[in-house]
């Protein structure tokens, strides 16, 4: 598949497209935690790194098949998510965000000091298993799963917690379990994305998974429009491709990226698709067209 595509696309852009897919999976996980459940998380990169290192080490040392490694990495990250989700019983709002930020930094420092992860030198020699097809099959799978989840009993409970936790508890929702559940599922996505990332770059460095990466993921979903899947997808796509598009400006690239973030927030404070319901938009545009054709002349 990749060899076939390489005839048409420059391998560098192929890599960017794969990275986009990987970020999409991770961002959708964060979307479930922050966008749907309303739990602020500044530590999503930690789950990404747990998944990445987990999958890579299993592949190197135990020689497990790739998909099994991805699954195991995802499960490890989900375990970490449960571990972080429990403190969220006591903390709320910004305090939860700060605690997850602390967790993210601790994980990074631990990976930097462990022998098995290669320490600060990083982990090299991971086989290249990720290809565009696998990534995008998983992206579609994630989108469908999150979409179905959001419109299930579980998802409605999560939205209720986001809107008003006390009211939700009064309605009989055990908010603790739902919050931990959201963290587990969201981190699972991040873990799978991490596994893909590890097997794409073939090299992992703890410095890549600092809080900066966490904020990047948060920016993806907020810029697109917090709480909507299409928003998360749009935000991720724009912000992942923006540094490539801005490449013409060479060293001013990151400066423009920063300015772009400020400008986008100022002009669309609720995100690009904030408050826009795509389904309703499409449906209403169809309906108005129907009305145009069925309304009798002069009526």
């Amino acid at each position: 598949m990749d060899d076939f595509l390489k005839q048409f696309i420059n391998p560098y852009y192929l890599q960017v497209l794969m990275l986009l897919g990987i970020y999409l999976i991770a961002a959708l996980g964060l979307h479930l935690i922050t966008g749907v459940t309303g739990q602020l998380s500044f530590g999503h990169a930690a789950f990404l790194s747990v998944g990445a290192y987990g999958a890579a080490l299993l592949n190197i040392h135990l020689d497990l098949p790739f998909l099994l490694c991805l699954l195991a990495g995802g499960l490890l990250a989900a375990l970490a998510g449960v571990f972080v989700g429990f403190p969220s019983m006591r903390l709320s709002g910004d305090y939860l965000g700060i605690a997850t930020l602390g967790f993210c930094e601790i994980i990074r420092v631990v990976f930097m000091n462990l022998e098995i992860t290669g320490g600060a030198r990083g982990l090299a020699g991971i086989p290249r298993e990720t290809n565009l097809l696998t990534v995008y099959i998983l992206v579609i799978l994630t989108i469908v799963t999150i979409y179905r989840l959001q419109n299930s009993r579980f998802g409605r409970a999560l939205v209720a917690i986001r809107e008003d936790e006390i009211a939700a508890e009064c309605m009989g929702i055990r908010s603790i379990w739902y919050k931990v559940g959201a963290f587990a599922i969201g981190s699972f996505c991040a873990g799978v994305a991490g596994g893909l990332y590890a097997h794409m770059l073939q090299y992992l460095n703890p410095a890549d998974f600092g809080f900066v990466r966490s904020f990047e993921l948060l920016c993806f979903i907020v810029l697109g429009g917090l709480g909507s899947i299409s928003g998360a997808i749009l935000g991720t796509t724009i912000l992942t491709l923006a540094p490539e598009m801005l490449r013409f400006s060479a060293e001013y690239r990151m400066m423009m990226y920063g300015t772009l973030m400020v400008a986008m927030m100022i002009f669309r404070p609720r995100g690009l698709l904030g408050g826009v319901d795509l389904r309703r938009l499409i449906r209403s545009s169809f309906r108005s067209r129907d009305r145009d054709t069925t309304t009798p002349a002069g009526g």
Binding site: P87, I106, V109, M112, A167, Y252, M255, T259, V262, M265
Partner: protein, 293 residues
């Protein structure tokens, strides 16, 4: 660890901690008033260090350098607030946060472009003699840091408790809308708060640059995060809390390194942060959050 080493490390820890406290004050005051985690604050601190360095290189003494850095950072912080945060004041909570991250990336890249990513050394502006007081040794630089930090913190406390503007700040942090109904110019108060925070951070930047003899564009990232931890540990929104939290984290970090946890240095602050949050969710001196139905 014998008593002498312990005391010595305490002095080093308090020196480091008071620089954290200087930065933490900016975080805590801004959060207290507009509930914004101002991620660009660490970069204002970095700018302060660079301005101070530039002034020192022109041949001025350290006091002038600190003063000029304060003025420069004051202007920068007020401009940032005006451009990037004020238009977003009534939008969702995460919007100004993302905007502050954007500003932070902008400032870091700007300074990297101007000065290069490598750390720049700080010329020796004061003759560094080491005094022995009882069991411990203390250097001139450490004394300067402690004195400047103490003077600034006392000054800040006086501004907040004794002046009309300070009263307005306290009222605004209590309830922004009611304060504006009472005839307080809320926008001016917020600008003033940003200015005060930036002044503290600028002094911190110059002092740290002098203490560690290095200034670089990314120096605000880790220092800013740790100072932010300090603000949260002390109870975010509380000014004495920020000082206490800063000193606490500084001492803990230095003692941790002395105890052989050097490679986990950056994790100490965050570990303590999580521990404190688990047992006292609103920090050491913070008011417990009321949950209203």
């Amino acid at each position: 660890m014998d008593l002498q080493t312990l005391l010595q490390q305490m002095i080093n820890g308090i020196t480091l901690g008071s620089t954290y406290a200087l930065i933490a004050l900016g975080y805590t005051m801004v959060y207290g008033i507009i509930k914004l985690i101002n991620f660009a604050h660490g970069d204002v601190y970095m700018l302060g260090a660079f301005v101070g360095l530039a002034v020192v290189l022109m041949g001025a003494n350290i006091w002038l350098a600190i003063f000029v850095a304060m003025l420069a950072c004051l202007c920068v912080a007020v401009t940032i607030e005006r451009v990037a945060y004020r238009p977003l004041r009534s939008s969702i909570r995460l919007a100004p946060l993302i905007s502050s991250i954007g500003v932070s990336i902008f400032l870091q890249t700007l300074m990297t472009l101007l000065k290069g990513p490598q750390p720049v050394g700080f010329p020796q502006v004061v003759t560094n003699t080491i005094y022995t007081v009882g069991l411990v040794k203390i250097s001139t630089v450490q004394i300067i840091i402690l004195v400047v930090a103490a003077v600034l913190m006392i000054g800040l406390q006086l501004v907040i408790k004794r002046t009309k503007m300070g009263k307005a700040m306290r009222a605004t942090s209590e309830d922004l809308r009611t304060a504006s109904l009472m005839g307080i110019n809320v926008n001016a108060v917020i600008s003033f708060t940003f200015a005060l925070g930036a002044v503290m951070a600028a002094a911190g930047g110059v002092l740290v640059g002098m203490y560690f003899n290095s200034v670089f564009p990314l120096m605000g990232v880790m220092a800013g995060l740790k100072a932010f931890c300090a603000a949260v540990v002390g109870g975010i929104g509380s000014v004495p809390g920020a000082v206490l939290g800063g000193l606490f984290l500084g001492v803990a970090e230095v003692l941790g390194v002395a105890a052989g946890l050097g490679s986990y240095r950056d994790a100490i602050a965050f570990g303590l942060l999580i521990l404190v949050l688990l047992f006292r969710p609103s920090g050491l001196l913070g008011q417990p959050e009321q949950r209203k139905v």
